[in-house]
């Protein structure tokens, strides 16, 4: 499993667990707000849950706000992970 696949799997696990979602809904192009039904309160909890799961901080609010889809979210986590690694 590649690094990105590992991240993808863990992000999906967090979203399924935190928001009690059916895993089949979590397609790469699924939008967090419209397709998954999340809202502004959920966005706060999503960041808390992901920070805890990955042991890192998501401090760039502009980049968080730019996340629209599951794939956007996974790419953001991957990039934060790479920054940490560097």
């Amino acid at each position: 499993m590649t690094y990105e696949e590992t991240i993808r799997q863990k992000v999906i696990e967090v979203l399924v667990d935190e928001f009690e979602l059916d895993q089949e809904l979590l397609q790469p192009e699924a939008t967090l707000y419209d397709d998954l039904g999340l809202d502004s309160l959920d966005a706060v909890d999503m960041v808390v849950a992901l920070e805890k799961a990955f042991g890192m901080k998501m401090n760039d609010e502009e980049k968080i706000r730019a996340v629209k889809t599951v794939d956007d979210l996974i790419r953001l986590i991957v990039s934060i992970g790479e920054q940490h690694a560097n």
């Binding site: 928001f19 009690e20 039904g37 809202d39 309160l41 959920d42 706060v44 909890d45 808390v48 920070e51 805890k52």
Partner: protein, 412 residues
């Protein structure tokens, strides 16, 4: 301003006997006790009472969607389930419920103590809020139960949340009665909720008013008994639909009883000690509002929690207004003191008593305390003609309430 007659058209309960009015009634009529020993409380230093009447575990995920549940502590979940049952029992249509003519008056002692504990356990060690979830505030705010009910059921009328500890739901019923009576709303979901937590029982333990009969959970509390040794706290929620008589008739709703008087006073003497004259005043005010005399009252459902001072004072207050020999019982022996839920849960049982024409006894009352007044302390389920009854509830802080209920018959 018009003065409307106010009737009860729906009932919902979450109690130490589980979900639903039926399980509550069945347990009470079977003389069951909901009191248990809570073993993990033995680790709390300085706590002497390890007893409670908690709501039995159930899976809230199966009953409420996450988007509704995420802002609810246990008490708000209880209140919402009770509200849903009350609405179904009243057979209110969705259109009526969401018309603005229906509101919510549901109180509690505080917001969720379990959530308070979780928050401070996470926050205090490092003075850090980084892992605080967005739902925390909505679980601990004072109007958590009523706001969450409105959100869950789409109710957009008046929303109130009386917070007065053990009189939260009796005040909710009283306030609902006044709001419907005045014509501000056609119907209101009225009641209260609370959850079992050691920080709640601690309140009574600190002032030596919590039962320490830890080895005999089903024998305590013992309201009016000479061997009573204090309160056992319970959890749950009771919700009643109070409705304008004309509205209930127009809907063809089943009517359980009419609310005809409400007394609500503060004793202004002592923040904790019961005050006989003030209790009497609450009962007398309710009676006056109902336009009734002492001899019109067939039964009193007492607040009596099983404390030495409280039960004695209440018995003397009842005697002073209603005279000797009136039938009296307390439901605290069955399901403890459910605090903010007490007034509503106990009223639900009283409605059942009116329907069955049954007196329900005080569980664990073996020998009435000679220091208590000379009343008819009901000690067994028995047939008795019941038309007009009083429901007492009192609270720390000096609050004393009394509600007068009249059995509904179509010729009234």
């Amino acid at each position: 301003m018009p003065v409307n007659r106010v009737v009860i058209t729906g009932r919902g309960a979450v109690s130490p006997f589980g979900l639903g009015v039926a399980s509550l009634s069945e347990a009470v009529w079977n003389n069951s006790s909901g009191v248990k020993i809570i073993e993990e409380w033995r680790s709390v230093q300085g706590l002497h009472s390890f007893l409670a009447a908690p709501v039995p575990p159930f899976n809230a995920k199966e009953r409420l969607p996450r988007t509704i549940r995420r802002t609810m502590g246990p008490m708000s979940i209880y209140a919402t389930l009770a509200a849903q049952e009350a609405v179904a029992d009243a057979e209110m249509s969705g259109d009526f419920l969401q018309s603005g003519a229906v509101g919510v008056v549901v109180g509690s002692t505080t917001g969720s103590p379990q959530t308070y504990e979780e928050f401070y356990r996470g926050f205090l060690p490092e003075n850090n809020i980084e892992e605080v979830k967005s739902g925390v505030f909505f679980k601990i705010m004072g109007h958590s139960c009523s706001a969450n009910i409105c959100h869950a059921l789409g109710i957009n009328g008046e929303q109130w949340a009386p917070a007065s500890a053990c009189t939260s739901s009796s005040q909710a019923l009283g306030l609902g009665y006044l709001l419907v009576r005045s014509g501000r709303q056609d119907a209101l979901l009225c009641g209260g909720a609370d959850e079992v937590h050691y920080t709640v029982s601690m309140v009574f333990d600190v002032v030596k008013a919590a039962s320490r009969s830890n080895e005999m959970p089903e024998s305590t509390p013992r309201p009016f008994d000479e061997k009573r040794d204090g309160v056992v706290c319970g959890g749950g929620s009771g919700v009643l639909v109070l409705e304008r008589l004309d509205s209930a008739r127009a809907r063809g709703a089943k009517i359980y009883a009419e609310v005809i008087g409400f007394g609500n006073v503060n004793d202004s003497k002592h923040i904790a000690n019961p005050h006989k004259q003030s209790m009497s005043r609450a009962i007398q005010n309710a009676l006056n509002e109902a336009g009734l005399k002492a001899q019109d009252i067939d039964y009193v459902n007492a607040h009596a929690t099983g404390t030495m001072l409280g039960d004695t004072a209440e018995s003397l207050a009842i005697e002073s207004v209603l005279g000797r020999g009136i039938p009296v019982s307390s439901l605290k022996g069955h399901f403890g003191h459910t605090l903010g839920a007490a007034g509503a849960l106990e009223t639900i049982v009283v409605l059942e008593m009116l329907d069955r024409q049954n007196l329900v006894p005080t569980l664990n009352l073996d020998k009435p305390d000679p220091k208590c007044a000379d009343l008819h302390y009901v000690q067994a389920v028995s047939k008795h003609p019941l038309r007009t009854v009083i429901k007492n509830n009192f609270a720390l802080g000096g609050v004393n309430t009394a509600l007068v209920l009249r059995r509904w018959t179509d010729d009234i």
